[in-house]
Amino acid sequence: MTNNKNSNQDTQDLSRRKFLKSGGLVAGGLLGGSLFGGLLTSQFQKGTKEETASQANKPVSFDARTFFSRNEDFALLSAATERIFPENANGMGAIELGVPYFIDRQCASNWGRNGNDYMHGPFPSVVKTDVYQEENRPKDEVITSSTVVKLPADTANYQTKMTRGTFFLEGLNAMEKTSQDKFGERFVNLEPEQQDEILSMFEKGEVKFSGVDSSDFFSLLRQTTIEGVYADPVYGGNRNMEAWRMKGYPGPIMSFLDKIEEEEFIVMEPSSLRNYQGL
């Protein structure tokens, strides 16, 4: 904790800000669950003996980062997901729902390594065009990594050697850099409106990084945030099924045979895969 003092300081600033703004963070167990890890021990977690003792009877969450090595990256990720799905009068936001941990675990998974995708070369350098333009290219042209290929806008094609995990790291780096360039501040320290501005720049594809489109990174970030909010809680997000409660979604239920013709909207207390499998 002594090296890289500055960034630790920043992280602590973030946590203090969050701490003041949102008591829910503590209530949701994130601090105790070590969002900022050992950094907080001296600053906020001067846990008394009594607190420690009462903790023992509470359900403990063993969340920790398993993909993002650096606190700073994770703090930035957390702040960005919270802007995508913020805490408000409807209920918890992304951080309290555990979305950053969800994304961390997804990045460390087979999906984050693109383990089920076709990742063989050559990887052409891809330039996206606004409108599809017909290209008269030699029929049997061999594509090399230096060939520039035009793709229609919004193509479903993913033509990079980068895995999703790397994509996240690069994307967060680029967000940090954009934040410094534009506001001279770290992303986590920006006002929410300023953070939104950065996110919008990414959404519109206005930021360039490492040969991929920043709008692709934004859609990955947005999609995983939504997934983390609403996936079954077994994946680390949707803590305590709170997002399902907000939406009135019941989770996996064995049968709706007796309810499918009901006119009234039926709200049930949600139940998760854990209940469904009878654990």
Binding site: I143, A156, Y230, P252
Partner: protein
Amino acid sequence: MAKKLDKVDVVVVGSGWAGGIVSAELSKAGYQVVMLERGKDQTRSDFIGVKDELRYTNRHEMIEKLTGDTITSRVSIGDAALPVRLQKDMNTGTDLGGGSMHWAGSVYRWRSYDFEIRSKTIERYGEGKIPEGMQIRDWGITYDELEPYYAKWEQTAGISGEPDPLGDKRSNEYPNPPMLASPAIKLFKESAKEIGLHPYQMASGNMSQTYTNPDGETLNQCMFCSFCTMYGCDFGSKSDPLATVIPTARKTGNCEIRTNSLVRRVIHKDGKATGVLYTDTRTGQEFEQPADVVVLAAFTFSNNRLLMLSDIGEIYNPETRKGTIGRNFTGQFNSTFLGATGFFNDKKFNYYMGAGGLGGALSDYDADLFDHTDLDFIHGGGIELRQYGDGAIKNNFVPKGTPTWGEEFKEKSLFYAFRTLTVWYSAAVMPWWHNYMDLDPTYKDEFGDPLLRITNKLTEQDKNIAKFGIEKCTEIVEAMGADIIDQDELPDQFNHGYDGMHYIGGVAMGEDPETSAVNNYLQLWEMENLFVVGGSALPHFSSHHPTPTIGALSYRAAEGIEKYLKEKGGLLTKPKSSVNA
């Protein structure tokens, strides 16, 4: 060196509906069958307790992994094709039962118009109606000839439904009554009726009651559990090969099923297939399985690629428009399933409940059931409202203009959760000279074999038909009383998304060996003991889902193979040359 195994009567590649039906019928008839499937073995117990939206819908647990191979895709003949790299963009089935395990189960017969599309179009509108380059033709079989095979498949599969009031003649009732209708489906049907249309309850492969099929397989009543499309059914209520034809084949004692067996070549000598070469995907060991008859039932992509890699038949060349393998590629892509979405401020629907094939449908704007004289397209589309049972990740609809993230998104997506209904038009797709399959010059699979390359461009026909459909869906959503209506947008161009498994052609059936690869028993003109079964045989894509037509043609092929084995050879139909494109 490949290890050579003992010869059998029939080797079948693929274990979906197509391979399953052929294997069941031939093993029932007493022939020795070996069925080869590249994916793993699986049973119903693999699906028990796994209702998990992230794992199945978003992470594609049951979909083919692309680690070893994929397809490459481009729009125009001059372009360099690029691989479809992500599993989410390329949904094909794998594992025992194939894509036929995670299908939704929406069931439609194709129309009598489809089977004679060229003659019927010319008869009503004149030759000028068919644009240059649109390669439609009659199929070499009529609806009436195929009807008994449709009926047979529906009995095996245990379809629940009521007849389409505008449908073609049927020789029998559906074996099961229609599914229960939810309030959303009732609203759709009543509103459509009010504006003079002919809605009905969609037929489905989800069981409306417990049912035992003619082969003695029992399926259970559907629970409307909603984890259906992209999932295996853990109640044994969805009609799939593991609940029907695979156990039927097994029971005969004549069918050996080998999973983890990736077929890489059809072996042939002197114009006859002698067997197949396959690799055990666990050990890498190669085997040669000799057989009297080889059946490819490995879905459109593998069927085409295996023929091309094995050097059987002539690959279609768009410049000369000669060659039949790879010709007439079509499918339903981003220009189909477009329509309108209604947002209801004062109504909430229990839309988290549902089943894959639960919905309302109508055919008023399908096939040639409406006048095309002043329209700039031929054929049409089916209109549907489907209640799959939306998961929480999926159900995040907001009216157009709402931000897709942030405070307002959260607020509105929560408000409109379960207040949103979509009606879509599933448009037919015609074959064109410039849409086809061949082998990619650059990209290879894990064995160093070239990947299949798809060239596919949306045409004015596709855009015009979609535009028409979006308007018709909007009228219905209006009649349903939605407060806000969002129309889907027309795509500029094909987006290389292959995520619905509705892709067909390439080994298309017909009467003329110049323009078709197989006859109406799906027997290859060029190699009489090779039968190529599945969507690859369909010469154009009709307005609805393909599986019942694939099922019907699989029964037809099984009959042909039996005939071929009994009669000890020969072409089962005589080739006719025609002026058909």
